[in-house]
Each structure stands twice: as C-alpha cells, then as structure tokens.
C-alpha cells in the first residue's frame, strides 16, 4: 500500500491511474473491439485470424495490466487462472465468430469446460461440475440436436454450403461499438470500484467485513453441529473415536460439540463420557456442504419455483415443438372419406 495510493484515495479519486493509465485501458479495449469486429464472419476476404490476434492482444494486455497491479499488492492469482481464463475467452470468441453453428456449439462446450475450471479455482467445485453436467451434458446436446434438425444442406454436393445468414454477420461495427463501450464502462467501474475504500481493510480476507461476517470460518464451522454423521465418520477415520462410541446430545437434542475449540463429547459403550478434541485443519466443512445448507435453509421457496419453472418450460417446449397439422374442413372431409373407403375395402377383402 503505497503513499501515492493513499493520497489518491483521500481525494476520493479512483484507483484507476494507479492500476493502468485510462488512455491505455481504453486503447486496449478498442484494440480488442476492433479485433472482435474483424473476426466476425463476413462475405469476401475475411481477416478472421488478424481479428483474433488483435482481440488476443487487447484482452492479453488488459490481463497483463491487472497482473502487474496484483503483483504490486502480492496477490498473484493461481496460474491455472490464466490457462482457463484465456481458453474461455478464446473459445467464447470462436463461438461468436465461427460461421458454422455446430462448431460454435462445440466451442461453447469448451467455454463451459474452461469456466468450470475457473469455478474450481474459486473453490466452487459443485458449481463447476454442475455446470459441466448441465451445460455441456444436457443443454449443448439439445442445441446440437436442434442444429441437426434445422441446418440441413440443400443437397448432397452442397454439403459444405453455408446458409446466407451464417456467412455474413449484421452490423458488426455498431454491435462492436455498443458491446465494447459497455465493456469499457464496466471495466472502468471494475478498476476503480474494486479495492479498498477505507484505509486498512485492504488486507486479504477483509475486503468487506460486513458481508464476510456471515460465512466466516466460525460460522462455517458451526455447521458441524448439523452434520453428526460427518463428524462421527471423520473422527473415526482420525482414530479419535472407536466404532462402539457415539456422539452425545444434550437435553434439547443438539450435539455436544464445540466447533471453535474443536472439541466434542463422546460416550463409550459403558456410559462414561469423554471429551475428544481434533487437530486444526481437520474436520472442515466442505464447500458443497455449505452450499447445500445455504440453498435449503435460505432459498427453499426459490427451489420450488425453480422446479415449477423447469416443469413449465418442459411442457411449453413439448407444446410448442409438437408437429401441428393444419387441415381445413374440406381436407378433413377428404381424409374421412379416404379412411372410410379404406375400411370398406378391407372389410370387402376380409369377406371375400
């Protein structure tokens, strides 16, 4: 935390200048925007590779600037971040720029996988796997099926032919301007809004005390009280509990366990009780457990609603995509005549 930073803060100015010169920032964003714009499919000679390079340079420069700044405060992100992040961005660019829908869908799977990696780095392993299963496994397969249904080549020798609407993107410049102005605005916000707003709270783990208090270590550890099975199993695996021993509950039915002091009361088969304490670092509450408790404790109604939404979506999809045969009255009558004639014919046949 340099003196210059503090001075800037006291004046209420953003940290932007400390991280990156705004002109450089906007230039980089413009570079990325031009790159994306060039990479979009178009008729005639298409400088897609050049566009990709420019976009990579722009995004790479921005990430580099961020890293330099992080290095200053000693908070270099996990190296896998660079791998997954750049893969995700590159694949995303391909999703947008690839003229063939099938390839776009496949690149999107790559995006999903890379994002899952990012989520894993963020210790959100449940989300990572859920993302892969739901997106890559279910949604994208549906996309592919629909692509197969809807994108048929007109004939066999034109199997490689692209549809007109795939070959040419629409208003790439306007769209790129809109998208990247938005990106510039959000990045500006990001670079100046993130970071300490008060002196002294820049230290790791104290970004936003009021919010952190909810799920800090002690609060997480308190969840152990609601996980008797996990506690017993892990204590036995640690050798702190025998197989014939059990955890003790008080009169109200709560486990007699102190997660902060890492102590639990167990009862032996003969009825005598003893206090067990486990070493620090053991018997942690996993992310998925915390997530489960959060989901079901705080959002049960939302889960119900989500279920209803899914059901309705399913019904809606069935109803919408059902094959609708439109027949006028005459056609119905014709159909009926045809059917009755057929029936008569079969009856005659059978009789003969």
């Amino acid at each position: 935390m340099g003196v210059a930073d503090r001075t800037l803060r006291s004046q209420g100015r953003p940290l932007l200048n400390a991280i990156i010169n705004p002109i450089a920032l906007y230039l980089l964003i413009a570079l990325a925007g031009v790159g994306v714009c060039l990479a979009l499919p178009r008729k005639g000679p298409s400088p897609q590779a050049l566009g990709g390079l420019l976009a990579a340079a722009g995004f790479g420069g921005l990430v580099l600037a961020l890293t330099l700044w992080a290095n200053e405060s000693g908070a270099i992100p996990n190296p896998y971040f660079y791998v997954f992040g750049l893969v995700a961005l590159g694949a995303g660019l391909r999703v947008v720029t690839h003229p063939r829908p099938v390839y776009a869908a496949l690149y999107f799977i790559l995006v999903v996988l890379a994002s899952a990696g990012l989520l894993l780095i963020l210790s959100a392993e449940f989300m990572a796997f859920a993302m892969i299963i739901v997106y890559a496994g279910a949604i994208l397969i549906t996309y592919l099926f629909v692509i197969m249904l809807a994108t048929q080549a007109p004939s066999e020798d034109m199997i490689d032919a692209l549809a007109d609407y795939d070959r040419q993107s629409r208003e790439p410049v306007g769209a790129a301007v809109a998208g990247f102005v938005l990106l510039a605005a959000m990045t500006t916000l990001l670079f100046r809004g993130i970071g300490p707003t008060e002196a002294g709270d820049h230290a790791p783990g104290h970004g936003a005390p009021a919010l952190v208090a909810k799920n800090d270590a002690s609060a997480d550890a308190a969840l152990l009280l609601r996980l008797p099975g996990k506690v017993e199993t892990e204590l036995r695996e640690l050798g702190l509990m025998e197989h014939d021993e059990a955890l003790v509950r008080d009169a109200s039915g709560a486990l007699m366990l102190d997660p902060v002091a890492r102590e639990a009361v167990v009862v032996e088969p003969d009825g005598t009780t003893r206090v067990v304490s486990w070493p620090e670092g053991e018997l942690n509450v996993q992310n998925i457990e915390g997530l489960g408790f959060n989901l079901l404790d705080e959002h049960p109604g939302s889960i119900e609603i989500a279920g209803v939404i899914l059901l309705m979506a399913m019904l809606g999809a069935v109803v919408l995509s059902r094959k609708q045969v439109e027949m006028d009255e005459e056609a119905k009558a014709r159909q009926a005549r045809r059917l009755s004639a057929e029936l008569q014919a079969t009856a005659v046949e059978r009789r003969s």
């Binding site: 992100p77 660019l93 809807a150 790439p172």
Partner: protein, 119 residues
C-alpha cells in the same frame, strides 16, 4: 481424490477469502466474456448462435457471481448461479422449441425472416 484436485487448484485454500486484485481478474474475464457474447448476439443472424451467445452471457454472469461469493465468503453467490443455470436450462428448452417451430414455418434460421413486428 477430489480434495487433492481441489486443493491443487484452489486459490489459497477454503475458506480463506481471496484478495481484491484477484477478484478483479475474474471479474475482468467475466465482463470480457459478457461483452463477446453481447457482440455475438447483436451481429449473428442465426437464431441458434444467438441463443448460444446468450448462454455465453449467462456463463459470464455465473463466473462473476461465484467470484463475488468467494470474495465475500458467501454461499449465496453460488446459490444464485444454481438458479441462473435453472433459468438458462428452461430458457434453452423453450427457445429451442421456438426455433424449431420458426424453422418449420420459414425453412430458415435467420432472425431477419421475422421482421414483421414493426408497428
């Protein structure tokens, strides 16, 4: 086994919060991905690819949410992503059904085919 992978990949061990500069990295990836998805949505004419771009934007939002949750040590970020994924799935189902329907009517996936909404 999972623990091993997780501890290898995880930033600095759960449940310690990550520092703000690192959060900025993730948010930048998220924002960039969102912008790319937006540009794609605005430029591509193929209805399916447009929907893929919206999925891309959903992904970006999900990453931002999880990163914030990690920063604040709050599970609600992840919980929210679960609902986002739910809605995305429902949206994908309906959207694809609609795409099939529209394709049946016009034998084309071009969004420009459906420009009769003008007032």
């Amino acid at each position: 086994m999972m623990d091993v992978i997780a501890s290898t990949l995880a930033q600095s061990g759960w449940p310690e919060a990550m520092p703000a500069p690192t959060l900025a990295h993730y948010l930048f990836v998220s924002v960039a991905m969102f912008a790319i998805g937006l540009v794609g949505f605005l430029t591509r004419r193929n209805l399916i690819i447009m929907f893929l771009c919206t999925e891309l934007m959903f992904q970006a939002a999900g990453i931002a949410l999880v990163a914030f949750g990690r920063y604040h040590l709050d599970y609600n970020g992840q919980t929210f992503v679960i609902f986002v994924v739910t809605v995305a799935a429902a949206e994908a189902a309906l959207a694809l059904a609609l795409v099939v329907l529209l394709f049946r009517k016009r034998e084309s996936l071009s969004a420009d085919e459906w420009a009769e909404m003008r007032g």
